[in-house]
């Protein structure tokens, strides 16, 4: 097989959108870092926001109480960024076909896993890998391997979408 054709098969949508997306994600994190020294991930928000509704000690640690308001601003910014993208490049709203039970069960596992594992795709995958942190590299290799295994099993079981 022609190696160039093989490589093109692995990237049927090209790489421009992915590189551009990754650069902007990096620039957003970097802007916050340069201004404040904060290396922001997306999932701590889940716990800091729970502190408004729950008195469990985990959610009411001093660092969480001190960051819970700006983390809401961060997430509202992310939602707004998605909306700006949609207004400029998308025709109307876009809605997933993935079944609700997969979103629900997957969401719960993502919530448990990111908080137990100290970070998610952005905290470990972008910020931790960018920091050349061994902990983050181990976490990323673990979650990517389990995610590929799970997604292939789901596909083999004939669950789609």
């Amino acid at each position: 097989m022609d190696p160039l054709v093989f490589v093109a098969d692995l990237f049927p949508n090209g790489v421009t959108r992915y590189v551009l997306g990754g650069l902007l994600i990096g620039i957003g994190v970097t802007a916050i870092y340069l201004g404040t020294g904060i290396i922001a991930g997306a999932s701590t928000f889940l716990e800091t926001t729970l502190s408004y509704a729950s008195d469990l000690p985990r959610f009411n640690r001093a660092t969480y109480l001190a960051s819970r308001d700006w983390r809401i601003a961060f997430v509202l910014g992310i939602v707004a960024g998605g909306a700006v993208y949609a207004l400029v490049f998308q025709d109307g709203i876009w809605v997933t076909d993935v079944q609700p039970w997969r979103l629900a069960v997957g969401g719960v596992l993502v919530g448990v896993g990111t908080r137990l594992g100290k970070g998610c795709t952005s905290g470990h995958g972008i910020c931790g890998v960018g920091s050349v942190s061994n902990t983050s590299l181990v976490n990323v290799v673990t979650f990517v391997a389990f995610a590929i295994g799970t997604a292939l099993l789901v596909q083999a079981a004939g669950v789609s979408p």
């Binding site: 990754g22 709203i93 719960v108 993502v110 061994n134």
Partner: protein, 153 residues
């Protein structure tokens, strides 16, 4: 809201989040279908999202963490993101991976997905809150067990 915060602190966080969300829009990680295409090895483009993102952030961290300058809006030092290694990093990563592989969505991409009008993703976000709560509750039970007196020998 802290009264002693710089007036530009929250606006910068919001603006950074907006660029971050715009990037998630371009990357199409807001579409669980695209993430599943990656995980089922049909389109490996997401490698470039993590690659480009971590290079930009890594460059900034490498430069700034070697300086003695302080961040203008907080007066904080520029550090690296380094977390301690323990069993939970592996266990949590495994559980996260199963969830990501089942649903095709992760936290940041889920927030941005709300912005593109993908309302069913609210189910996943609700699930993430439930999961984060379960984890906090579990830690409390474990802590209580750890401090309770052991029976006399």
């Amino acid at each position: 809201m802290n009264a002693d915060r710089h007036p530009l602190f929250v606006p910068l966080i919001f603006a950074g989040g907006l660029v971050f969300g715009l990037g998630l829009g371009f990357s199409h990680m807001t579409h669980p279908e695209v993430v599943l295409d990656f995980l089922q090895l049909r389109d490996l483009g997401l490698l470039f999202v993590m690659g480009a993102g971590s290079l930009v952030v890594g460059g900034a961290i490498a430069v700034m963490s070697r300086t003695t300058r302080l961040a203008p809006l907080t007066g904080d030092v520029y550090g690296r993101r380094v977390k301690s290694m323990d069993r939970n990093v592996i266990l949590g990563g495994s559980i996260f991976g199963v969830g990501w592989g089942l649903s095709g969505i992760c936290p940041g991409a889920a927030y941005a997905s709300v912005g593109i009008g993908n309302y069913p993703i609210l189910i996943a976000i609700a699930g993430m809150f439930v999961g984060a709560y379960i984890q906090g509750y579990w830690r409390k039970i474990r802590a209580k067990r750890a401090v309770s007196p052991t029976p006399a020998e």
